[in-house]
């Protein structure tokens, strides 16, 4: 599959913007989760979780899905391929895992936000859940930094499939 240069640039821009946006939105979420866990001020705690639910649904989830989809399109539409280089495979796996984990966490985040919106959440309530939400945000951000580093440094290393494709392409160039 190949793309016209203009379309490829658009797809790359969409991928970079959605990926960086995802990390930025998650950083904002992390601040709210930390405030919700550590603040002793009840209104602050409640606002933090209501806001974190909004950020989850209207920023993090759409950007995560956009990043994953544009990343796959980007890989398939360029010579990198999806399964030819280790860095692409690893990036795909960790971003897919992070997206799945994020979707799993939307339920608990929504639950604590509902409790907060009902005025039934105090600074000492649901501490296990609050810690879990913060820990997942930290873990998610680390995974996104890992993915960003892979995309930036592109460490060498062909998969067996990629190596075969490269050899085949070399042979075609020699004979063609």
């Amino acid at each position: 599959m190949t793309m016209a240069p203009a379309l490829r640039k658009f797809a790359l821009t969409a991928h970079i913007v959605s990926s960086i946006g995802w990390a930025g939105a998650l950083a904002a979420f992390l601040v709210l989760a930390a405030a919700g866990l550590t603040s002793q001020n009840t209104p602050t705690v409640r606002v933090a979780y209501v806001a974190s639910d909004l950020i989850t649904w209207y920023a993090i989830v759409p950007l995560a899905i956009a990043s994953l989809v544009t990343g796959i399109v980007q890989a398939l539409a360029t010579p990198w391929g999806l399964f030819q280089h280790f860095w692409v495979v690893i990036k795909l796996v960790i971003v897919a895992a992070a997206t799945f984990m994020l979707l799993m966490k939307t339920g608990p985040i929504g639950y604590i936000a509902d409790r907060a919106a009902e005025g039934a959440l105090s600074p000492t309530d649901l501490m296990g859940l609050k810690i879990s939400i913060l820990a997942h945000a930290v873990g998610g951000l680390l995974v996104l930094l890992w993915a960003a580093a892979l995309g930036m440094y592109k460490p060498r290393g062909l998969t067996r499939y990629g190596w075969r494709k490269a050899r085949q392409s070399e042979r075609e160039q020699l004979t063609g």
């Binding site: 280790f86 929504g110 309530d125 859940l129």
Partner: protein, 58 residues
């Protein structure tokens, strides 16, 4: 006749990252199945003593 080139193998850095990615997948699977931590189907216990309504809040 020239030797058939052989696959050079997996670079050490790729192996290391593969192991880390596998650990990440294991954690995700364990959480989604409720083996560790709190998955999407939290129980009273994992929700800090408060039951979450079935199917989450949406």
């Amino acid at each position: 006749m020239a030797d058939q080139p052989t696959y050079p193998g997996i670079p050490r850095l790729a192996k290391l990252q593969g192991i880390l990615a596998a650990i990440l997948i294991l954690i995700v699977v364990a959480m989604s199945t409720g083996l560790i931590g709190m998955g999407g189907h939290g129980t009273d216990e994992t929700m800090g003593g408060h039951a979450m309504p079935a199917g989450g809040h949406r």
